[in-house]
Amino acid sequence: MMNTLQNLWQRVNLFENASADDARRGRLLNTMLAGMLVLGFLALIFTITILSINASWDKPGNSLILLTLVVLISASLGLFFVNQRSVNFASFLFLLVLTLVLGFSDSPSEVANGRSSFVFFIPIAISSLLLSPVSSFFFAFGTSSIVILLSYVADVSVNVPIIGGLFFLALISWLSSRSLEQALRDLRVINTNLDNLVTQRTQALSDALSRERIESGRNQAILNSIADGVIVFDSDNHSILANPALSRLTSTSLENLIGIDANQFINSGQISEANREMLVEFIKHPEKNTSALRVDWGKNTFSTSIAPVQTSDHENIGTVTVFRDITQEAQLERMKDNFVAIISHELRTPLNAIMGHAEIMKEAVYGPLNEKQLSITQRIMVNVTRLLSMVGDLLDEAQIRAGKLSIAPQEFRVSSLLENLHNSMDKTVTDKGLSLVSKLGDGIPAQLVGDPQRIQQILFNLVGNAIKFTERGAIEVNIDRVDADNWKLEVTDHGIGIPENELPFIFDTFRQASHEVSTRQHGGFGLGLSIVKQLVELMGGHVYVKSESGKGSTFTVSLPLKTSLL
């Protein structure tokens, strides 16, 4: 019952085709009519009850009361229907009826000039709300006419202050209703704008969401098609992202790669203990690792690089690690190293034989040689020496790269380094018109602990390099102490020097500073300095060079060496 009433009430209050103002007025009229209906019914029940108790049905005034109430209820119901068709007409009708009813609510003299004359305030005030603000003046005029008419009927003087009051009320009603309507209109505009804004924002949000979906789909597609294995660890070292390439390279299912702990991930692979430790360190400290790490993972070789993942405000939220499969390249490299090692070993034996035979001739073992023969024999020896040193360099390089070259520390006489240097190099130096000056710093102990052969080789290579690139002056070799545990070998020449742009590459394999003079002119593979660097680093030291083009170079090797084996 309540629901039916509620539905009915909602339906009559819809006013679908009416303007916003008309709908508001229609609803206001509905409310008033409903109030009147309720009041009418209550009055009808009350009147019937009183009349039944007093049994006074036959009094002529009573039936009039009943009739009035029935008319009121019927008129209210009728107006509900009219209201559905035309709000304005229904409102006008309602106000007209109300005015007329009020006009007859008391004796004509009282209405015209007495206590009841103020009842006309009601239609005036209501009309400004129900019809339009300005209609209050129309009803002020109408009710004033009724008051004047009734004054003539009742033969009383026209009450001018009351008529003035009616028009004053009309003015106030007009002003207030107008402000109210203006405020409502403003509110409606605001509401409309707000609605538009909400619609726009909703659309924008939905666009952004679909863009995001497309974007993330695209990123996933890119990640999936990368040939390199990619895994992202969060700051707790749990993986949050991995791609199919990594799954393929590590033979682990993609599901198992997500959420996996960094240690777990590394332990899942067939990696040597040393590689494992390096990789753990690598992933945990991405900021320290700028160059790629080579890792043997099962049958594969990966070049691994890592970078911290940073938000726009530089907060580290994890790491991204990329595994590039370089198995083939690594195999080729190993083959090349083996090839170089075998070739240089096989080359050495015949070279050694040529050298030996030439020496036997030179040393006059089979009788003295004439000047021409001696000279040619010496040329053979010089060239074989060059070949031997090149082959030696290749072999050393190959051994270092294959990790086969080890450092064997033992006690050695420091001065023997310089003695051997002079024994081997003095002749070459003087032949070229240069001089070799060596100096042992003050307070250098007689003995140090290190690999004398390798340190000697470093000195040979550096001095050999200096001779190669110097045309005049002295080549200086100094051995000095840096601090308690570090020692310095310094080789200075006054040769062609190294141009500044070549300095960073001077220790690279197969490299020679290429300006003015070519490799061809100076001979060698350009391996000497590369071997020096690798040997020095194997011993835990550093090598650096200072050079000025045209003025010469100074190579400084610093080595950590103990003074005794204990």
């Binding site: 070993h345 050495r348 034996t349 015949p350 070279l351 050694n352 034989a353 050298m355 030996g356 035979h357 020496e359 036997i360 040393e363 073992v365 031997l388 051994q399 086969k404 070259l405 080890s406 064997a408 052969q453």
Partner: protein
Amino acid sequence: MLKNYALVIEDDEDLSSIFTKALQTSGFEVEAILDGQAAEQRLKEIVPSVIVLDMHLPHVGGATLLKQIHSNEAFKKTRTIITTADNVQAEIYRDMATIVLIKPILFSQLRDLSARLITV
């Protein structure tokens, strides 16, 4: 022990002849053997004062021969000079030999070195 008698065990004929010549120049009587097995046999018969031993030999390796020489009391006074191109191998057998020479080995180097081993 044969006085100033050297045994050169080297499979490369050229090097063998150069080593032989170097030792002869120093005053040694030299016998050259090109094969590990033959050398092993010969060492059962004679005790030279100097042995020049290549580590890379056919049939019986230089390392095997070196161990035999090192563990045999008869060779206590024999000077052993091992020749090898391999640095790592040189380090391993350094303690068992009197002198380790890394190839390439110069004629003059071996001649001057062996000259110091001549007993008058």
